[in-house]
């Protein structure tokens, strides 16, 4: 922000930042950082800290980041105890320093969740999310086998609802904010994206059962309706996707139970 005298407003900050090597215990380090412009993004502030460390010949803090425009889902910091920081509906890269005060102490740490082990400093392993998608988060369509696009009309309200859910960027803030380390907002969003579309019906039950099974195996906890995930989701995905996930899971289990084959299920067939 530019002040009346034409100069940019800056902050002096105290930073408590998590330092950890893979497989070893971690600890906070304290650093002072001066002259942080309020127009800088949070990650640009971290860049400034790292440049200061390089000048002093020390190792930098490692953190995940890539697009820096709030869409890739790579950035993942817990800032003052809140995944993606204090501003609702934004990722860390879209958080700007004008939201902090001069002289403030800011605590920066990684996602805290059993299913997301720390690889270094603020970088965690989120491959559990990929495994969930690999088990069923898709509509099977081989390249070249698709019918003409307008042969599948999708009512606009359904398309809009699917799009709302599909906005999930897979960052993991839902898991990091949940005291159970639950991934049900993430899984619910994908289920809600694919299960309500006409194209997604053929694999609906199979998808739901497989994704929930993999979610459990990957070490994610269950939902007990705290609602922290919704509060910290940078894409404002709402809790109703979890209700719909539960509904579809129940539906699939009941159908499986009453299926006429009498044969045991193989992962939701």
């Amino acid at each position: 922000m530019v002040q009346d005298n034409g100069k940019e407003e800056t902050l002096a900050l105290k930073l408590r930042v998590w330092r950890q090597r893979r497989g070893q215990p971690g600890a906070f380090e304290e650093h002072a950082l001066a002259a942080v412009p309020t127009s800088a993004s949070f990650l640009e502030m971290m860049d400034m800290l790292n440049e200061q460390l390089i000048k002093a010949g020390k190792d930098t803090f490692a953190f995940d980041h890539d697009c820096r425009e709030g869409i890739c889902g790579m950035c993942s910091m817990t800032i003052n105890g809140m995944p993606h920081g204090p501003l609702p509906g934004v990722t860390t890269c879209q958080l700007h320093m004008r939201n902090f005060r001069d002289g403030e102490t800011i605590t920066v740490e990684p996602w805290r969740a059993r299913a997301f082990p720390v690889l270094k400093d603020m970088i965690v392993d989120r491959s559990g999310f990929d495994k969930v998608i690999q088990s069923g988060g898709f509509i099977t369509v081989r390249t070249g086998s698709a019918p003409e696009a307008n042969n599948i009309p999708v009512p606009k309200p359904i398309a809009d609802e699917a799009m709302d859910a599909a906005e999930c960027i897979g960052c993991g803030a839902c898991v990091a904010s949940c005291k159970n380390g639950s991934a049900m907002l993430f899984v619910g969003a994908k289920i809600n994206h694919l299960n309500i579309l006409p194209q997604g019906q053929a694999e609906r039950d199979r998808r739901t059962l497989a994704m929930v099974k993999t979610m459990d195996e990957a070490g994610f906890g269950n939902c007990t309706n705290y609602g922290e995930c919704q509060a910290h989701c940078p894409k404002s995905i709402t809790l109703d996707v979890i209700a719909k996930l539960n509904r579809d899971y129940l539906r699939a289990r009941v159908k499986e139970f009453f299926s006429s084959t009498g044969k045991p299920s193989k992962g939701g067939d």
């Binding site: 640009e44 400034m48 890539d66 890739c72 696009a149 009309p153």
Partner: protein, 642 residues
Amino acid sequence: MNLDSKTPAGPLADKWNNHKAKLRLVNPANRRKYHVIVVGSGLAGSAAAASFAEMGYEVSCFCYQDSPRRAHSIAAQGGINAAKNYQNDGDSVRRLFQDTIKGGDYRAREANVYRLAQVSASIIDQCVAQGVPFAREYGGLLANRSFGGAQVSRTFYARGQTGQQLLIGAYSALSRQIGLGTVKMYTRHEMLDLVLVDGKAKGIVTRDLVTGAVESWSSDVVVVCTGGYGNVFYLSTNAQGCNVTATFRAHRRGAGFANPCYTQIHPTCIPVHGEDQSKLTLMSESLRNDGRVWVPKNKADSAKPASEVPEEARDYFLERKYPSYGNLAPRDIASRAAKEVCDEGRGVGQVVDGKRLGVYLDFSAAIKRLGEPEIRARYGNLFDMYENITGESAYKQPMRIFPAVHYTMGGLWVDYNLQSNIPGLFVGGEANFSDHGANRLGASALMQGLADGYFVLPYTVTDFLAGEKSGSRPSTEAPEFKAVTKDVNDRVAKLLSINGTKSPRYYHKALGKITWEKCGMARDKAGLEGAIRDLQALRKDFWENVKVVGSGDALAPELERAGRVADFLDFGIMMCLDALTREESCGGHFRTEFQDAGEAKRDDAQYAHAAVWEWTGEGQLPARHVEPLVYEETQLSTRSYK
């Protein structure tokens, strides 16, 4: 250097079908015996890897991110073109082809562009079947909009997140194959070199970014889909990790690099705010459908808030200069017009380096006409993003925008089969050079990435594999692999050992300052010659004084950055050299010496060719070769959007 384009004979409309009918096939039972390496997991890479695996090949896919879903294709906002003609407004394959080749200022290969237009419709079918939630009409059918200088509505979109939704579609197809075990996915792996055996690409060397392990991988064919080189300008709309290393390393092993000077400057980005800025944020150019671009007529009004500049004192310069296209003039033209008015001192917004570099994008007329709710429905997420970054509401005051580097049309040279001049090295998506000429039209990048990945590479790579004996790929114990692995290890050790005083980011910024000022929106001979000298000095300084903290056997972001910056330094020199030797203006390449009252002046007699650069050795300038562009059915005309 063999630059045979292998363009098939016959009329344009029949080339691809005739060619496909002649391409060789691999028996389904034999496909699993071939190993295909795909580097990069964006639209082209994910689509190709999934398609190869569905066909039955053994596939390994590599990306530097922690998940293939994060590749930078995800950031594309506006949409994807396809010649479906759902709007009954006169679109056709021929027209999409003509628009694309004209938009590229007649510097693309005609047959490739025609094929792109031909397969565009299948892409939409594929994506809809995957569950991509495209915008719909109330009747349930697909909606379209007009985009980026097109006079028909052929753009399909998913709110302002089309790239994200298409990538998630491709990622889900890829994930399905990973789950089935047919694709082995290596995340947080960076390709650091290409391995050639008997002149053919037979593998790669990577660094595991978590453990630091340098490993080599052998394959029957290598497909590189690693995106563009926009980060050579330091500030760009690219993701932080986007880099030229994979393609530049392939170039150093003999692959020709075509037209590196063709870079696209996007007109609607948020202006630069200060020294510590790390990236520029694009606002989708769909905003230009409803926003009006203006600056004050008088310099004296530049410092005033927009609300204090009366209507009659505003210069809607795009509407004035290009009445038939107005605010929708193509990207290069709109960008240059914005630069001109700012150079005249009529720019608005914050003063950076003594200049106001911004123009207004004003929605007040559209809000009056359509109402705020409608504008919110169309652009809500973009307005929110703008407010997050600038702290200003575009519902209440005009946005400020300025051009920024966005896309790079140049890339590794490929023939009609998307194969480079190194047999067995295929290149897809933004990483190749062939389809966009000197300027890319809006909503065409997503189309090209998916066209290459889903509908071109599966055919052409199969044809190559049919000529390779199954099971003949070399062992990674072969001397060629050992030698390249040693080169990579030596380079990593060298970077860590210099222990100088300046950070890799310092060099990246210095590089960006030179390239943006001398090889950005406007270029001239003296500036480019100076830039090459400056870059050579900067490269020397880098290899003497860079300080890389961290260790080689662990996660080391500064080491990653240093390696990428080192390649960008070499690459930047080649880019400036390409701009220097192309003595004409075309598309995104604007040489101030070659203009007609501000409009680009092409020289078709001398420069209707692709310039292809050959690596000649460390510290040497690369050698220039040409592939003449033959236009069989296109009449070259002066691009006019007036």
